[in-house]
C-alpha cells in the first residue's frame, strides 16, 4: 500500500490574538509511513509543537485556526471526520509520549489509578469493556514492556516515589496502553540526564521496532534525530525547509538553515572555534 499511515498535506495554521492574526504554519506536508521512524526537528518557535497538536487534535480553536490542508490517518481525513470518530482514534490508534515526566503525571494518584483511568476511557471510546482486574493486568503488562522490574510495586507508587527516568518510562507505558499504531513523541528525555536519556531513547527505539509501530519524533536535538529516525523533516518559521533520509541530510544538508543548524551543534570530536566571529 502506498498511502502512508499519517499524511499531513499542506497544513496551514493561523493564530488570532487581540485582533491580530499571524500565520504560524505555512503549507506543512509530511508523511509517516507505517513502521517508519520519522523526526520533525526545529528550534523553539518553529511550529513543530503546533504541528503535533494539530495532528493530535489538541489545538485550541480559537485562538488557533486551521486555514488550509488535510491530515489523513490511515486514509481518513482527521479534520473533516465527526468529533466522535476522531476521539476514538486519539490515545488509541495514535498516542503521545509527553516531554516532561515531572508535570505530566498527577501527583495525588498512584500510577495504577492514572493508567487504569486512561485505559477505562480508551476502552469506552472503542466500545470495549474490561473488568478492573483485567485492566490492572494490562497495566502491569505494559509496565513490563517498558522494562520496569516489579510492575506491581511501580503501579502502587505515587509519581514522587519514582525517579525521572522511571516516570518517563511510565509515560511511554501509558502511550502503549491501547496498542497504538502511531506514537508521537514530544522531546522525550530532554528533561533527563544524558545517561538516562540514552536509556529512554534506546527503549523507545527497541519498542517501536519490536512492535512494528510508526514513530514521529518531535525534537530540537539533532543528535536525538540521528539516533532515533531514518527520515527527517527540518522546520523553520512554520515551513518545512528540507526533508530526506536522516543520514543524507546530516552528511550533505542543502538548505542554508539546515546547514547553519548542523554547524551550530558542538561536536564531541572538537574542532569548533568559538570567539572568532565576534572578535572586534
Amino acid at each position: 500500500m502506498s498511502f502512508p499511515l499519517l499524511r499531513v498535506n499542506n497544513l496551514s495554521v493561523a493564530f488570532s490574538t487581540y485582533g491580530r492574526t499571524s500565520q504560524v504554519l505555512h503549507n506543512v506536508s509530511l508523511d509517516v509511513p507505517a513502521r517508519s521512524q520519522v523526526a520533525l526537528v526545529g528550534e523553539s518557535g518553529s511550529g513543530k509543537t503546533v504541528t503535533m497538536k494539530a495532528i493530535m487534535g489538541l489545538l485550541r480553536q480559537p485562538p488557533a485556526r486551521i486555514t488550509g490542508g488535510e491530515i489523513y490517518y490511515d486514509g481518513a481525513d482527521l479534520l473533516t471526520m465527526p468529533d466522535k470518530e476522531r476521539l476514538r482514534l486519539r490515545g488509541t490508534a495514535m498516542s503521545m509520549v509527553f516531554q516532561d515526566p515531572m508535570s505530566s503525571l498527577n501527583p495525588v494518584f498512584t500510577i495504577a489509578d492514572q493508567m487504569g483511568t486512561i485505559l477505562k476511557y480508551a476502552d469506552k471510546r472503542l466500545g470495549r469493556s474490561r473488568s478492573a482486574r483485567e485492566r490492572m493486568a494490562r497495566v502491569h503488562q505494559v509496565l513490563d514492556q517498558v522494562r520496569m522490574r516489579d510492575p506491581e510495586r511501580i503501579s502502587r507508587s505515587y509519581p514522587i516515589e519514582l525517579s525521572g527516568g522511571m516516570r518517563q518510562r511510565v509515560l511511554i507505558a501509558m502511550a502503549l496502553l491501547s496498542e497504538p499504531q502511531l506514537l508521537i513523541a514530544d522531546e522525550p528525555g530532554t528533561a533527563l540526564d544524558v545517561t538516562t536519556q540514552a536509556q529512554i531513547l534506546k527503549l523507545l527505539k527497541d519498542l517501536v521496532e519490536e512492535r512494528g509501530l510508526a514513530l514521529l519524533m518531535i525534537t530540537h536535538n539533532l543528535g536525538v534525530v540521528r539516533e532515533t529516525s531514518n527520515y527527517v523533516y527540518v522546520m523553520n518559521k512554520g515551513i518545512i525547509v528540507e526533508h530526506g533520509e536522516t543520514t543524507g541530510i546530516f552528511e550533505a544538508p542543502r538548505d542554508p538553515y539546515t546547514q547553519s543548524l548542523i554547524n551550530a551543534v558542538p561536536r564531541l570530536t572538537g574542532g569548533m572555534c568559538f570567539g572568532k566571529e565576534v572578535a572586534s
Binding site: 540514552a198 543528535g223 539516533e227 551550530a264 561536536r267 564531541l268 568559538f274 572568532k276
Partner: protein
C-alpha cells in the same frame, strides 16, 4: 609564577538527611574531597549529571554555602578571609535566565544592583551602557523588562550583570542549557571572546559533553561528589579511563560518523544501557558482558 586564579583543596560538604520529625538520620556527601586548580585565563570544565555535586561546588566558590572542610583559594587568598571588595573577583552566571532576572526590574536596574552592592563610584548609567555594549546589546535595552527579551538576550543581560564589577573569575552554571543550539553557539562565542579580551578565567559547569569538548581546556568529571577523572579535555574524551566517563560519553547523542566512532563501547545489561551504579558494580565484580553498544 603567580598563584592560580582558583585553587580548591580537599573540599567536602555533606547535607543532613532528616526524618519526618526533623531528627537527623544520616548525611549525604554532596562533595567529597574535591581538589582542582584553574590557572589564570583558562577554561575549566566540570562535567557531571544531576546530583553529582557540581552546583554545590559552584555555590561554595561563590560563598553561598559553607564547606565542611577544605580550602577555596581565589588568587592565592582564602575565600573566608576575603574582604567584600575582594569578593567582586568572583561572579556567577546562572542556568535559567528566565528566573535569575527579576521580572519587575528593567535590564538597567538589574545590571546596576551589583554596582550598588560594591559601591561603584563612577557614572552608573554610562557603565550600564558600556556593559550592554560588551554583550552586544543596544544601549536602549536598559529600559526594557526581561519579558520583552528572548532567551539569548536574557542570558546576555545575565552575563553583563556578572561582568559589572570587573570580576576575574566567572562561574558559569549551565549557561546555555535553556537555549536553542544556534543561540547557544552565539552566547558561547561571546563568552570566549570576552574571556580573551578581558583575561577572564572560567569555571564552566555543564552536563553537555560536546559543548565541554569545544569550550573547556581542562575537564573534571564528577560522579557522586568525587572527581573520578581529570585532564586535558581532548585526552580525557579520546581516551577515557574511568567507566563513568565512558558511560557518559557513550550516552551523548551525536550527529556524525566520526563522533560515533569516538564514543566508547558500553556493555549492555539485559539489553539495556546500564545505569552508572550498575555499570560500576559490574566492573567491580570483574565480569565482562557479551553485548556492546556501538
Amino acid at each position: 609564577m603567580s598563584a592560580p586564579m582558583l585553587e580548591i583543596r580537599k573540599l567536602c560538604k555533606s547535607f543532613p538527611v532528616r526524618n519526618a520529625f526533623g531528627r537527623q538520620i544520616g548525611a549525604v556527601k554532596a562533595v567529597d574531597e574535591v581538589s582542582f586548580t584553574i590557572e589564570k585565563g583558562q577554561v575549566y570544565g566540570l562535567a557531571g549529571e544531576s546530583g553529582s555535586g557540581k552546583s554545590t561546588i559552584a555555590r561554595m566558590i561563590m560563598g553561598l554555602e559553607r564547606p565542611d572542610s577544605g580550602d577555596i583559594l581565589i588568587n592565592g587568598e582564602e575565600l573566608t578571609k576575603q574582604s567584600r571588595g575582594h569578593r567582586s573577583h568572583v561572579q556567577m552566571v546562572f542556568q535559567n535566565p528566565g528566573s535569575s532576572l527579576n521580572p519587575r526590574r528593567t535590564v538597567g536596574q538589574s545590571v546596576t544592583v551589583p554596582l550598588d552592592a560594591h559601591n561603584y563610584a563612577g557614572n552608573k548609567r554610562q557603565r550600564v551602557s558600556e556593559l550592554l555594549e560588551m554583550v552586544q546589546l543596544p544601549a536602549d535595552f536598559a529600559e526594557r523588562y526581561p519579558h520583552e527579551l528572548s532567551g539569548g538576550q536574557k542570558q546576555r543581560v545575565a552575563i553583563a550583570r556578572a561582568l559589572a564589577v570587573e570580576p576575574k573569575l566567572l562561574v558559569l552554571d549551565e549557561p546555555t542549557s535553556a537555549l536553542d543550539v544556534s543561540v547557544q553557539a552565539r552566547v558561547i562565542d561571546l563568552l570566549a571572546d570576552l574571556g580573551r579580551r578581558m583575561e577572564l578565567t572560567y569555571l564552566f559547569i555543564s552536563h553537555d559533553l560536546s559543548l565541554m569538548r569545544n569550550f573547556a581546556r581542562t575537564v573534571g568529571v564528577l560522579y557522586r561528589g568525587q572527581i573520578v577523572e581529570t585532564g586535558a579535555v581532548s585526552a580525557v574524551f579520546e581516551n577515557p579511563s574511568h567507566d563513568y566517563t565512558r558511560l557518559l560519553l557513550a550516552s551523548v547523542p551525536v550527529i556524525s560518523k566520526e563522533e560515533e566512532a569516538m564514543r566508547p563501547k558500553i556493555p549492555l545489561i539485559d539489553g539495556e544501557i546500564p545505569t552508572a551504579e550498575k555499570l560500576l558494580a559490574l566492573r567491580e565484580a570483574g565480569q565482562t558482558a557479551s553485548h556492546e553498544r556501538g
